[in-house]
Amino acid sequence: MQTVHDPSISSYYVNDRLYRRLVESFADWQKDELAVLRPDERDRFRMLLEREARLLDQLRFDEWLAMYARECIYWVPGTPEGGDPRREIAICFDDRRRMEDRIYRLRTGYAWSQAPKSRTVRMISNVEVFETDSSIARMVRSNFLISEFRVDGTRFLSGWCGHRFVRSAHRWEIEVRQVNLIDCDQNLRNPSIVL
């Protein structure tokens, strides 16, 4: 019998197969002929992205995590091309457990890089939805601008996101979120918020 592992407790799904599929699905996916034109479908994904941005601005991390598939990845590459996470370290490459670690740490009260906490507002725009080779998966590209205030001033983080959504029984879940900062390969000051 197949053992069912709780991905909050142990990490079995981050394996060769996941890496291979991830690298494949994030290569060359923004093709005009795959763009979804139906306004209602584009609206649906745009609303999901806006909700995610709002939950992160409001530090409502439990609800944010609940938007993700059980086995999910939050990936911030350290190179503009995304790189190969099997062979390169990323700014971060979190599975569900490490996403929960990240939130747990922020909540300890001893994460000095976030004490006091940053205040953020996020703008999401240029949302484009793309079909994939699976009828229950969509890739979504969006641009973002995060205004972040902390201690001595306001700064701006910008870039674009690639979300891979998968359809579960009753909703679209985020399976992978790739956050591409425009300055991802430069030295970053206090990159301690969830992007």
Partner: protein
């Protein structure tokens, strides 16, 4: 150099302060972290005068490969020329001073200045000047060749450079710290690693705050409390990561050692069970931990443990003055930007298995090793950097002048010096800070002869 100005500047620098007044036995003056004049002097007397880490040979594996780095504030093209020789060229056109190369890395036989089209071979030699008949000079004069570091040398893949004609040989400069460097390398197959991108961070604070911290065993449970709580949140026994600092770190077998020339070493290995799998047993959870552990144990049986250790952090901090650290599996590089801004880059390293001694496990162990390496910069270093920034803010209090580094000082029998001059003390001791800052003080009072070299 300009005789008159150079002389005046050296005289001025030497008289800038009474250095004994700034650096005391137990404390240092805030100005060493805040004064732009001291910072400017450090760019020659420290970052010009000692061997400074520039990069790793795996970043320029083939002839004509280059990366752009800095020596202090000087932009440098670190390259392997078309003949295979490693050089550190000033990234500066000899015509008008324009940088010749603006990319972080690449491959080039020729660098052509974007401004007026002067072009140079990757040896630094001037190749061609547009419309030369407009010049009366002889372009064969060596002064038109790109200036470069007179001395570039590697120690087992780590490339260092200096402008100081009188500096000791690199091997002599490194001295006793080569032993821990060798041990750090030799736990990998054939003693080899390859750099594989980086976690790149910066902070608004003086560079020495990072070097002070690099051997500091006192801050761990306080500055990294959130990390220690996080990585042990699901552990049956809270022994993950640096948990051994929690109870009574000064009675633990780990220790700090000052190894001369400003180098120091924090050895935490004695805290870890010396057995195959000992490191893996205390490694915090990472994406893929359980899968790869299961997979490797299934394939390799008992031998899997030593393979898993390669994905685990080596519990050492090997700090080579002024800008290079090996810790965990990272190469950490400190890069001063200004008196109150510093880049801290954590280069990841991968295992290289040229002879296949890992029987095909190298890709899997690297996939896991990438994830273990992302942990500390994300959940540990960011908090240190926040604390360094807050030191810099605190040091704006001009009337409160002193910064202390006297932990362990004056306690009989605590700090020991052996016959080779190596100073050891318990893990939380600040003896390494007191020792390296003496070396810093000596350098700040010295008058190094800095020179550049040009191809003939």
């Amino acid at each position: 150099m300009l005789e008159k100005l150079t002389h005046a500047r050296v005289e001025h620098a030497a008289e800038l302060y009474d250095w004994d007044e700034l650096v005391r036995e137990d404390r240092v003056h805030r100005l060493i972290y805040t004064d732009p004049a001291i910072f400017a002097l450090e760019m020659t007397n420290v970052f010009g005068a000692v061997w400074v880490y520039l990069g790793h040979e795996s970043q320029i594996p083939r002839n004509d490969d280059y990366i752009t780095v800095r020596l202090g504030l000087r932009p440098i093209i670190l390259l392997r020329d078309s003949e295979g020789k490693i050089r550190g060229l000033f990234n500066r056109c000899t015509h008008r001073g324009t940088t010749l190369c603006r990319k972080d890395k690449g491959s080039a036989r020729i660098f052509t200045c974007p401004y007026h089209g002067w072009s140079f071979l990757n040896t630094g030699k001037l190749r061609a000047v547009p419309w030369p008949d407009g010049y009366a000079c002889d372009f064969k004069d060596a002064k038109f060749n790109v200036a470069q570091l007179p001395r570039v040398d590697s120690y087992r893949g780590f490339i260092f450079g200096t402008l100081n004609a009188d500096a000791p040989a690199l091997l002599d400069y490194l001295g006793a710290i080569t032993k821990p460097i060798d041990e750090w390398l030799d736990r990998q197959p054939k003693g080899k690693i390859a750099v594989c991108e980086a976690n790149r961070l910066k902070y608004k604070g003086n560079w020495k705050l990072a070097y002070d911290n690099s051997g500091d065993g006192y801050h761990v449970v306080f500055s990294h409390r959130s990390l220690l709580e996080m990585e042990n949140r699901q552990a049956d026994v809270a022994n993950k990561g640096m948990s051994y600092y929690k109870a009574s770190p000064d009675t633990a077998p780990m220790y700090m050692a000052y190894m001369g020339h400003g180098h120091h070493f924090k050895d935490k290995r004695p805290n870890i069970q010396k057995r195959a799998g000992g490191l893996w047993a205390v490694e915090g959870p990472a994406p893929g931990s359980e899968h790869y552990q299961h997979e490797l144990r299934r394939r390799f049986g008992a031998r899997a443990e030593e393979i898993l250790d390669l994905a685990s952090s080596e519990p050492v901090n090997i700090n080579v003055f002024p800008n290079f650290s090996l810790l965990g599996n990272h190469i950490q590089v400190f890069e001063p930007v200004s008196v109150d801004e510093t880049n801290v880059t954590w280069y990841g390293t991968a295992v290289v298995d040229e002879d296949g001694v890992l029987d095909g496990a190298v890709d899997q162990i690297n996939a896991l090793r990438m994830r273990t390496q992302e942990q500390f910069p994300n959940f540990g270093e960011v908090d240190d950097l926040a604390n360094f920034e807050e030191i810099q803010r605190g040091l704006a209090c001009q009337e409160d002048e002193w910064v202390y580094m006297h932990r362990g000082l004056g306690i009989p029998g605590r700090v020991k010096t052996d016959a080779d001059g190596i100073v050891t003390a318990p893990a939380t001791d600040e003896a390494f800070m007191r020792e390296y800052i003496k070396e810093w003080k000596r350098l700040m009072q010295s008058r190094p002869r800095l020179v550049v070299q040009r191809e003939p």
